[in-house]
Every structure is written in structure tokens, then in C-alpha cells.
């Protein structure tokens, strides 16, 4: 509440503080390694937890900069194999979204759209922008050590749904 509390709302009632909005308030500085195009696998993202398995995610890295994974024993070779898994198609008001996920072990190294909506003007705009931007979102959420993503929207929600289903099929 120490932020700038201008004007009408705060002064009138003192109930609501108005904070200057930062366009990159997420976890600045921690996302650089997770931008798309960096397909070297250096994203150091937290592995998605598998169903009923012990994960190797080092808890000490929560909320901190991506770790170098020092203490973890080297995974088996098969666990590092690169594979692709297709998510299910999900519909929204603009069309159908389906993605393909590439994993090395349990780490997402790429997400490519198999289907994106193109049926309307607005859809076309979204299609042109959605894939790369959403890819950043997916990877950044991991690098920011977020457990859950709240909020929802049609295209990105469908995208997340398809991604989630791909991860589910991968047993990731």
C-alpha cells in the first residue's frame, strides 16, 4: 500500500489503492532464459510433476533464479529422449486450437500449433500472434516457478487446454 495512491478513489474513501501498472510485473529478469526460440533446453524450467511419482524438482529453487540443477543425479538416458506429443483439439468461439509439444525428458522444449483458428478477421489476428506469444507464456510460467495459472480467455485457454492434454498424454 506504499505505492502511489492517487486521486479520487483512495482519497474519497480510502478503500482502494491505485498502483501504477507495470507491463512486466511478473518476474522480470527471471524469464530471459525461457523465451521462445531458445530451444537449447537451457530453460531450467521446473519439471511438471508426474502422476504419483517422486519428482526431481529441487524445492530450493522455488521463486529464485533457475538453478543449475546441482544435486540431482543424472537421469537415465531414456528419460532424456526427445519426443513429441499431440494435445487434443479444443474449441473456442474463434475456432479450434490444437498444439504439439516436444519434450526432452520431462522438459518442454517446444510447442507448435497444429490448428489455430482462422475463420474470422479477429481470429486471424489472434492466430498470427497467439502461437509465439503463448509459447512465451507457457515457458515463462515455468521459469517463474508458478504452480497454477489463474484467469482465463478463449484462445489462450484452448491453447493451455491442448497443452495440458498433451502433457497428460505424455505422462508428464
Amino acid at each position: 500500500m506504499s505505492r502511489a495512491a492517487p486521486a479520487v478513489v483512495a482519497t474519497l474513501l480510502g478503500l482502494v489503492a491505485l498502483a501504477t501498472f507495470k507491463s512486466s510485473p511478473g518476474v522480470p529478469g527471471k524469464s530471459a532464459a525461457a523465451l521462445p526460440g531458445k530451444r537449447s533446453g537451457a530453460t531450467a524450467a521446473a519439471p511438471h510433476r508426474s502422476t504419483t511419482t517422486t519428482t526431481a524438482a529441487p524445492p530450493a529453487t522455488r521463486g529464485s533464479t533457475p538453478a543449475t540443477n546441482p544435486g540431482a543425479s543424472p537421469p537415465a538416458t531414456s528419460a532424456n529422449a526427445t519426443r513429441t506429443v499431440d494435445g487434443g483439439p479444443f474449441d473456442n468461439q474463434y475456432g479450434t486450437v490444437q498444439v504439439r509439444v516436444t519434450l526432452r525428458g520431462h522438459q518442454i522444449t517446444d510447442v507448435t500449433p497444429l490448428q489455430m483458428p482462422v475463420d474470422r478477421q479477429r481470429s486471424a489476428e489472434i492466430s498470427q500472434q497467439a502461437a509465439p506469444l503463448l509459447l512465451q507464456e507457457v515457458l515463462q510460467a515455468q521459469s517463474a516457478q508458478i504452480d497454477i495459472v489463474g484467469g482465463a480467455s478463449y484462445t489462450s485457454q484452448s491453447y493451455a487446454q491442448s497443452l495440458q492434454s498433451a502433457l497428460d498424454r505424455a505422462g508428464n
Binding site: L13, S23, S24, T51, F90, Q136
Partner: protein
């Protein structure tokens, strides 16, 4: 750390259930997750506005009296009416019955969808709690219920779940990161969907607030509060939200300003 994770397609969205157990705890009985999923399917059978045979559609068409409906339907409609009165009409599930409203797919004369999702997730969480789950979340298309914390690792200070709120315009960013433990988090807003929140009092799109996130004890109420706040707008809505006991909120205006209720900062880490 064990993680029992289930992802189901339901209600036109995806519901993720994630239950965590420390390694020295007995394994979680996944039948509780099955029961949770079955409950979500029953909710769809009762409340879907996309199928003509559900109770909510039959009530909307006047074929079924509310007093003859299932207890779940009566409970939800009573809660909707409470929310309508509390919000002075900004939350109104009978909006679709207005003569001047153009019907569209999924809009029904009686449409409690904005509250049912949160209500049903909360009851699903009760099922998990009753089965002994202490650390879990349920995320239904961005509306989230959390209990306990993410990783029950001895010696590690874990205070809750880290939850990112999607940025309304910059899709590779989150607008805030919250740490929540036993909480319900609901978000209402436009994002890229266009003006999809309609003011039921005027029939016109709500303006001013692009996104509102509400944190509080009950997900059904948080859901309704988030929608009502968007409808009421930045000044009136956020002031109204600030007076809701036990609930805090963050609104993002069309001008990219962030409005917080006084207690919201205790959840926010960035």
C-alpha cells in the same frame, strides 16, 4: 513428494486436480478424485446451458418449477439471488430472459454459469478434504481453489501455492503472482474475447475494468463478486468489492492501471 494429478474436460473447459502428499504420508486414495470428477459431470447434467434437457434449461423454459428442482439447483439459484441483491443487480442470472436481449449460443433465459463453476469446484474440494487431502488445488478454466501448500517437504519453508494471474493483454506475462494457501481465486474479464461481460441492468457491455481477480474463502461467491465488480466498473465496482467482508480483489482498468482493495497486498508477491 507424491503428486496425484487428474485433468478432465468438462463444462467446455479443462479442470485440473492436483493433490500433493509428502513421501512419508500414506498414498492418497484416488477414488476421491474419481468422486470429484463424477460430481463435476453431475453438475453439467444439472446446469449446462448448452443442452436442452438440463434442469436449468427446463426451468428457464418454464417447464420445471424451481421448488421441484434438485436440491443443488435450488441451492445455486438461492445463492444467485443473494448475489443479485448484494450487487444491486450487477450480478443477475435472469438477464437472458429480458425481452430486449438477443439470444446467442450458450446464453439461456436462466444462466447461473458464472457462479456454478466456482460453486461446483468448491464442493469438489470438500470431497477431496473429506478423503484426507490437505495439500491440493483444483483449477477449472482459471478459477482456482487451493488448500495447504505445494510441496510438503521437510525443512523447506513453503507457505502456499504460487498462483500467476494472467495478464489481460500481454499473454506471455502474468499481471501478478499471488501466494495463497486456503483460498478461492476467481477472475472475470474480457481478455481478448471482446466485451463479453454484459451489464444486466443496461444490456450493454461493461466498460472500465478489463479484468478483476477476487480472492476469498468461497469460490462461488468470489466468482460472482468478480463478475459484479466488472459490471459495476472501476470506481464503483472496486469500492463495492472493498466492502465485501473476507474478500479482496485486484482490478485492471482499460487504462492499464491496477486497483487493489486494501487487503489484497497480503496475497501478492509480485
Amino acid at each position: 513428494m507424491q503428486s496425484v494429478r487428474r485433468v478432465v474436460e468438462q463444462w467446455g473447459t479443462v479442470i485440473s486436480i492436483d493433490v500433493r502428499r509428502a513421501d512419508d504420508e500414506p498414498p492418497f486414495d484416488e477414488r476421491a478424485v474419481d468422486a470429484c470428477v463424477a460430481w463435476f459431470a453431475r453438475v453439467d447434467d444439472l446446469f449446462s446451458t448448452w443442452r436442452p434437457d438440463t434442469e436449468i434449461m427446463r426451468i428457464g423454459r418454464g417447464e420445471l418449477a424451481v421448488e421441484d428442482a434438485s436440491p443443488e439447483v435450488r441451492t445455486v439459484l438461492a445463492l444467485c439471488e443473494q448475489m443479485r441483491l448484494e450487487s444491486d443487480g450487477a450480478f443477475d442470472v435472469t438477464f437472458g430472459a429480458r425481452a430486449d436481449v438477443t439470444m446467442r449460443p450458450g446464453l439461456a433465459p436462466l444462466d447461473p454459469s458464472g457462479l456454478v463453476k466456482g460453486w461446483a469446484v468448491a464442493r469438489g474440494g470438500d470431497l477431496l478434504c473429506a478423503a484426507g487431502a490437505t495439500n491440493f488445488f483444483v483449477n477449472a478454466g482459471g478459477d482456482v481453489l487451493t488448500r495447504g501448500h505445494a510441496d510438503a517437504v521437510a525443512g523447506i519453508d513453503v507457505t502456499g501455492w504460487r498462483l500467476g494471474i494472467q495478464h489481460p493483454w500481454v499473454r506471455d506475462r502474468v499481471a501478478a503472482v499471488l501466494v495463497v494457501s486456503d483460498a478461492a481465486i476467481a477472475t472475470s474479464g474480457r481478455y481478448e474475447r471482446g466485451d463479453h461481460v454484459v451489464d444486466p441492468r443496461s444490456g450493454r457491455p461493461a466498460i472500465g475494468l478489463a479484468s478483476v481477480t477476487v480472492v476469498g474463502p468461497d469460490l462461488a461467491v468470489a466468482d460472482a463478486y468478480a463478475t459484479a465488480t466488472v459490471v459495476l466498473g472501476a470506481s464503483v465496482g472496486m469500492r463495492w468489492l472493498a466492502t465485501r467482508v473476507g474478500y479482496e480483489g485486484m482490478g485492471i482498468t482499460d487504462e492499464h492501471a491496477v486497483l487493489l482493495t486494501p487487503g489484497f497486498d497480503r496475497y501478492r508477491v509480485s
